[in-house]
Symmetry: C2
Subunit: 248 residues, 2 copies
Amino acid sequence: MRNIKLTLAYDGTDFAGWQVQPASSTIQGTLASAIGRITGEKVLAQGSGRTDAGVHALAQVANFQTESVIPEGNLLIALNDILPPSIQILAAEEVAPDFHARKSARAKSYRYRIYREAICPPFRARYVWHYPYPLNEQAMSEAAPRVEGKHDFTSFAAVDAERDREEISNVRDVFSSQWGRESSELVYEVRGSGFLHHMVRNLVGTFLLVGKGTLKPPDVTAIIEAKKRSVAGATAPASGLYLANVEY
Amino acid sequence: MRNIKLTLAYDGTDFAGWQVQPASSTIQGTLASAIGRITGEKVLAQGSGRTDAGVHALAQVANFQTESVIPEGNLLIALNDILPPSIQILAAEEVAPDFHARKSARAKSYRYRIYREAICPPFRARYVWHYPYPLNEQAMSEAAPRVEGKHDFTSFAAVDAERDREEISNVRDVFSSQWGRESSELVYEVRGSGFLHHMVRNLVGTFLLVGKGTLKPPDVTAIIEAKKRSVAGATAPASGLYLANVEY
């Protein structure tokens, strides 16, 4: 059996998220159909983690086992021919049998894009959160590093059952967290050991309250310590979020 | 009655074109619903011209008559709130009663984008024609200006009934026609007095044959002179085409 690692990008707008579901179009399900058409095998590639409905990926990583002898380069071309333009494989490589896209991951990075101009061009609307109202961007920049370090992120975790069984703790290590300006966009970049369900979108929703002046930067520290979802901000829209990188 | 001129941008991917149709989602129909909700009037804005299914606009122009006294600035904000993110109004202004978006137009510009890299990022796929195969871009550049000037463009006109009744001639004046490189994209820009149905996409399809070496640049002149649709190239996909500007 060969173990194949795929790096893939997708526009999540029209998908019900990563994870395969019976009646919905998902990234994992669409990928499984494409792999099945090429190898004749029924196999579900395991992702580095799930992405929610509408969330995008610049470089999601997934792996699957196959008996197929198709060279990686041909596999990449064949998959991209079959996959819709909204999902494309960026790299395919054979890896060691013990490589596991989720368990072997050492760090993940996410990006969140907020478009700040009054009118959002239709060509960008699917890929950002359009928020044209006043924000104290300096205060948001000051608040961002306050979530760095090893913390119990319960205040930023979705209150739902959608988590892996192995996840017995809400403690995660955030290596870096910062807001920056990229012309008309305010961009949040966060890198950490792993992220809870909805964690990045809940962080963004909380930083937005800082930008609006509802919260002050030190309040973010108090929110972490409270370990209570209700004290943090709302979940920011999926359209602005990108799984940017997975490190092994 | 006030005469309102709208400048609008749209992502045409999910629309059946500009012109209102009974059972399909169209730009003109969606715009009419939004205007109706604001003014209470049932009015169809007239565009500078139709765009086909899947074709985009950076700055389409349309006008409509209204009894409404809503200031233009408020109209713009209200329309953008109601319109889907895939259609947005860039400008709204009251104009002279005799302004007509189509009849008053003196020149139009179109852009056509071809993405040249092997893998097309999912975030760009809706907005380009992905053509990663070899092309002689120098030959395409040489061929482009050959369509400049006043010509009968029958060879590049769609063989169909979809044309305005007033259009009794296939003669059009092309002011400029050129191909250029914009990093990973090959971009065609054409400006003229007006364009026949499918004309820009048929020009692009013909220049592509020059890029592939099937035709030589001087053949483009012969194709114009033949006045026969069958001698020109195929119609390039809608996804790469943008109505870029309308001049009055």
